[in-house]
Subunit: 338 residues, 2 copies
DNA sequence: TTGTACGCGTTATCAG
DNA sequence: CTGATAACGCGTACAA
């Protein structure tokens, strides 16, 4: 609710004895203004506590200085670092950040809530947006950058993500080569999740490379959630599935899996080796500390945001950025504490 | 960057053969319009893919339909649930959410980035805002709600937080009464943190109630961070401080403390009992599962947002809401698994 | 270097 | 119930 009495550019102009155009100039620092007049304006601005109305600015200038972020849900552990990166990059460049989650709303409701009319560009995480809207925005040249997800066919939208396949291979090969595991479970993410898809591919590649036949029974559903992973591992343990290691598609699922294992009286890493993916902040505090594939999540957020800003400025950008992942050895894989 | 060719209210009016006023009416569903004309307008809207320009709307109507959130940093574990609550409540009421972190910016930069000119109201977490600006906003009747922090003297700003003192007492009394602890460490939060202050008060009250003298040497600095807590506990262990339990001001610090304990060869709960505060999602997955004071963090976010929205609508609201905390017993306190 | 005047797209007021 | 039309506050050609 706007309050009645705040100063407008006109008030400032009057007090400074100049035109509103001049005020606009010194406030935006665009065209040159005689230092002396500029100072008078600045004084007036301060005296009146003048702050330009964002809406008026947008209306007149046609750009919002705001970036939109669309996510399906805000899932803490993994998402927080990314958000930090995004917020930081946006802030440093002078952009505001409008956040929108799609999870709890009906499709009808969240149409058009974020788009050309209130943002200069959009950051889209996972498939939180309808293809039709995406296509429309893309066709009018509206800047969009995807996070952890490649663009649908035909759309020219850059992506920033991490080296999923390579990371997964690193993990599985470590399990095979160093710890001599042969029956390695892969704990998958949500159906259709691209990260999980690549990680599974890396997993299979590593097996193949070492002549270990792929067993579909070892691909289990973790849904990138502790709870689901816990449930799943408990169930297969009941059914006496045999395995000597788990490569979890993400750390959260690894956490749940470890709970299930402990519940069943199995020890990590003695009975089952475990490696996760992402390297969430708490990974090193688990018992045992979780060996995992480190993904530069905050950096992904930063990168994507910078990319988007360049897009907003109509600069050309690379269509895909893959940030490096690396194996972070702790103890859950069976390596000794240092 | 606004794209050139999108339809305006005038285009719609023309196509529907009505005035722009009528279009505005059916779009906003305010004044009654003959169903037949309304339908014509709706058709035109759809045909032209018309979406009202937010900026124009704001400029004309004087309110932004946007809520601002100011936080010092986005710290994952604890903050994510709160953000979820805020986002959900805001979204359900049709408000957008503008997020702003203050941590990495200079004071100069983050003046006025969020305020009367781009939001209808502000959610402020901890002391992420200057008193002067706060006072100014408050004096012009701008809606603000504090999260986990009471307003500075003289300002009339409602707060939503949790029953810190009661929760702390619950924890410490459990340690004393059930587990017969006598030398209980309190792991404090950041200097001046209000939550930590109340929790310490609860801790001291519980000791007092049971005739245990307060020992200042047992109040240690955890800073609500795993890393700091780990460092602190390691240090006092070196210095052979004696204690039989730790009540940690928050779960994150508890995690760090547990790492330090394990590092030193001490077992939880056999050698040291441990209780945390907040009940972050991962608490139950720690080894041993962390007994902690459950705080309804997501609900705090929801509540605060709803309060703010009522303030925006100029309704009167309670000046303080204390959400209940409760003891969630798991195993780190020495209680057996169920 | 500075000022004038118009346009941005809505909402709101007031007649009709 | 509907249509003109005046704000809303700022940026920016264009003119001086």
């Amino acid at each position: 609710m706007e309050t009645n009495n705040s100063a407008t550019i006109e008030d400032v102009a009057r007090l400074a004895g100049v035109s509103i155009a001049t005020v606009s100039r010194v406030v935006n620092g665009k065209s040159p203004v005689v230092p002396e007049t500029a100072q008078r304006v600045l004084d007036a601005v301060r005296a009146l506590n003048y702050v330009p109305r964002a809406a008026a600015r947008i209306l007149a200038s046609k750009h919002t200085n705001t970036l939109g972020l669309i996510v399906p849900e805000i899932s803490g552990e993994f998402f927080a670092p990314m958000l930090r990166g995004i917020e930081a990059a946006a802030g440093e460049a002078g952009f505001d950040l409008l956040i929108h989650t799609t999870s709890y709303k009906s499709l009808e409701t969240h149409r058009h809530t974020l788009g050309e009319h209130n943002t200069d560009g959009l950051l889209v995480f996972i498939d939180s947006m309808e293809l039709a809207e995406l296509t429309r925005l893309n066709s009018i040249g509206f800047p969009i950058v995807f996070l952890h997800q490649t663009a649908p066919a035909g759309l020219n939208i850059p992506v920033v993500t991490v080296e999923n396949k390579k990371g997964a291979m690193l993990a599985v090969e470590h399990l095979i080569e160093v710890h001599h595991c042969r029956r390695i479970v892969y704990l998958s993410g949500p159906e259709g999740n691209e990260d999980s898809g690549w990680r599974e591919r890396g997993y299979r590649l590593a097996l193949e490379k070492h002549g270990i036949p792929f067993d579909p029974a070892l691909v289990l559903f973790g849904n990138f959630l502790s709870k689901q992973a816990e449930r799943t591992i408990s169930a297969v343990l009941q059914a006496s599935l045999e395995f000597d290691a788990i490569f979890s598609g993400d750390d959260l699922a690894a956490v749940g899996a470890m709970s299930a294992l402990r519940e069943a009286g199995l020890r990590v890493p003695e009975d089952v080796k475990m490696i996760g993916f992402d390297d969430i902040p708490l990974a090193r505090h688990l018992t045992p500390p979780l060996t995992t594939i480190h993904a530069p999540t905050e950096e992904v957020g930063r990168m994507a945001t910078n990319l988007l800003i360049r897009l907003v400025r109509r600069e050309t950008v690379e269509s895909e950025i893959l940030l490096p992942t690396e194996l972070t050895i702790r103890q859950s894989c069976g390596c000794r504490a240092l």
